[in-house]
Amino acid sequence: MSILLYCVTEKSELPRLGKGVAGLPVLSVEHGEIAGLFSPGTCAEDWKGSPLKESARQFHQVLHRIFESRAIIPFCFPTLMHETPELARHLETNLLEYVAQLEKFRTSVQMDITITQADSARATRQASGAEYLRERQKQSEELDRVASQLCTHADSPTRDWRTRPAQHGLKVFALLDRDSVEVFNSSLQQFRVPPGLGIRITGPWPVTAFLELRQVG
């Protein structure tokens, strides 16, 4: 038996936690100013029983319920621990790191922008290796240029940006205040998408792309 971890958040005025993955209750362990949320008595079979995608969706719903009203630091799904004292020790050991991150991003959310090329296979149709590389470089430069234009377009409500390569394109993450989401979306709606490109904007999400690397014990 083990416990399934959802996230760490500030412990004050926790919303109703409800049901979690596989209908299991969502409970909390508190230490200092923070709380770790988990479902008890889980074993791998609990979430392997239903399709993984359904478990992932239920996991997301728990995070989303809590994230609606407060900052959270989610765990990757599935993160399991043996028992609640182990989670309590983890919170105690990493208390300062969690408090600092929750404080830093208390009013922040993340918007994800995925830029894809409709014809991403164009490069693979080139006759030679050199042509293939040239085409890939051209596609990459085009994505970078559009990402840069997007950032300029929505610069006003955005506090920070991150980018990383994605399958068939590029992902751009925007950090903004929770109450700036509408302004952000409105500013991007005015953006003229270049032919052959698709842009998908999702959010608001927890600020996972902006958490800072910490090596903690």
Partner: protein, 77 residues
């Protein structure tokens, strides 16, 4: 001729609009990664042992960390 560009918005507050791919990308790839003394066992045979500390990181910083660790490992081996 290239297809016209498209832009789609999906609000996480309206679950139906959110693609499963978006959810999976977040719940599986983003967030705190905890690892420690993990033994993956298949038919009674232990296959993998992972003994690492806890990292609190974004996916790209995790990748940088992994790449840096790999380079150090290559140099020392």
């Amino acid at each position: 001729m290239s297809a016209p560009g498209t832009m789609v918005f999906a609000d996480t507050n309206e679950g139906d609009q959110l693609a499963l791919l978006d959810i999976l990308d977040h719940v599986l790839n983003q967030g705190v990664i905890l690892r420690g003394n993990l033994v993956i066992s298949l038919a009674g045979v232990d296959l993998v042992y992972v003994g690492l500390d806890v990292i609190l990181t974004s996916i790209e910083t995790a990748m940088r960390h992994i790449n840096a660790t790999s380079r150090v490992t290559e140099k020392t081996s």
